[in-house]
Amino acid sequence: MSENSNASRAGAIRFSNAGIVYPNGVVGMKNLDLEIKPGEFVVVVGSSGAGKSTLLRAINGLNSLTSGKIEVDGQPVPEGVGRELRELRKRVGMIFQDFRLVKRLTVMSNVLIGRLGHVAAWRTLLNLWPIEDREIAIKALERVGISDKAWTKASDLSGGQQQRVGIARALAQEPAIILADEPVASLDPVTTHQVMQDLVRINRELGITTLVNLHFLDLAREYGERIIGLRFGELVYDGSADTVTDKDFEDIYGREVREDDVLDEDAV
């Protein structure tokens, strides 16, 4: 990944009194004021339905605000579908809990999907990728350590490997921001730690602003720098991972910390 593109990369996010009310009346986000500086590593925690996904998806426009403002690097997140939104999304990479790879395609093709916004449409329609973009994809594969599987069909990979391809796809975008929506929820403990370590390393080495939704509290404490706690769509905690206490978690969740809230049973 070319280190020169750091200069163009910023990745500041600002929510101003943002709110989302779904058509069925459910409140996904309420009075959210949040500022995230470029290069921060933020973990978002909260019980199911607290609005973690909603928050992430508002940043790349998959969910639209119904009130308030949200800005990325000073520009408001565009509404609807169109050129502007695509331009923003090129700079925001997303990693999903269910990996979302195209199973029939190879790992290489899947990672190249991250370059789709950057290459002319006629080229991608005919599968004629320029050499520069292929090199970016190769470097992304190397960074997550999966380049030996470049030509394997995505469906032949394990869950952990598929998620690493998902990360490589996001990296291939050369993004300013990476949004990871419960990236480890479907993985076994060993792979979970590997993926979390990858995300931390990428954040440190490349300075990409990273937001990670987690529902395992011990992981949040272990890997997070800054922890954001949501409850019923509202921000109820904003602090450092070093100083967060179990009581804080209980306040965020509104109940006692349980066994399935942590990855390792010993941590409870």
Partner: protein
């Protein structure tokens, strides 16, 4: 214990019995309406048996000379018709997926329902005066008629895919068209191609029939031989048709299975 307690209670007349009554009644009414009499019924097996004797032995020389070219023509008609329908139906199936394009899909559904409504032979009746008698009209008729069915089936396949990758493509800045190319097509292409192949099998039968209205193929030959009561020649037609259709069914079925399992 008294015997009465061991017998099951008397069953009321259920709806199944009523339905059978109604169907039987409709059946008998229909028989009467078409002036079917027991006399005819007794004669039918006799007449069929009589005819069967006249079909044997089949005139294979006629078969090679006149029938085979006609069967080849039917295959060609079915092929071109299926190709036309496949090319037209692919984009229509993509845009007809209500999960991807909710508004456009309704229009596409209407178009495909209209195209599906017409049996090929009726479309051929309209095409013959336009492009003249012959197989070209038949191919067009089959093409248009098949577009309806292939679009409907194709749209159903597209509706059933996993949308995660589509969202992933769009979340990384790709347009909907690119999402179609990279996230939708790889998922749906094998099943859609299998539908095309099955359609080809059905179209062979359809094209065989079109000769009856002058749109080429083996149907016209059969009609001819039957009209002149050259039953040994007709036997050749039937025999060769059966063999060819079975062969195509087997090959096409095998290819379809390979594709689905790839």
């Amino acid at each position: 214990m008294s015997e009465r307690a061991l017998k099951p209670p008397v069953q009321r007349i259920g709806w199944a019995t009523w339905t059978t009554f109604i169907i039987a009644a409709l059946f008998l009414i229909s028989l009467w309406a078409i002036e079917f009499s027991p006399k005819i019924m007794l004669q039918v097996p006799g007449k069929v048996a009589e005819d069967l004797k006249a079909y044997y032995p089949p005139d294979m020389e006629y078969g090679w000379n006149a029938v085979l070219p006609a069967i080849v023509e039917s295959i060609q008609i079915a092929w071109i018709g299926t190709i036309i329908a496949a090319i037209l139906s692919l984009p229509l199936a993509l845009f007809g997926a209500r999960t991807l394009f909710p508004r456009v899909a309704r229009v596409v559904k209407f178009i495909s329902a209209t195209a599906r409504a017409f049996p090929e032979i009726l479309l051929a009746i309209y095409f013959v005066p336009i492009v003249g008698l012959g197989p070209f009209a038949g191919a067009l008729a089959i093409g248009i008629s098949s577009v309806g069915m292939l679009t409907k089936l194709g749209a159903e396949v597209v509706d059933s895919i996993d949308f995660g990758p589509v969202e992933a493509v769009e979340a990384s800045g790709g347009s909907r068209i690119l999402a179609l190319r990279y996230a939708v097509l790889p998922q749906v292409l094998p099943e859609i191609v299998a539908h095309w192949l099955f359609r080809f099998e059905l179209n062979i039968r359809a094209s065989a029939v079109l000769g009856v209205v002058g749109a080429g193929g083996v149907g016209g030959v059969l009609l001819n031989t039957l009209s002149y009561r050259h039953l040994e020649k007709a036997a050749a037609v039937l025999l060769l048709t059966i063999i060819v259709v079975l062969a195509i069914d087997m090959i096409s079925g095998a290819i379809r299975r390979r594709i689905i399992n790839s």
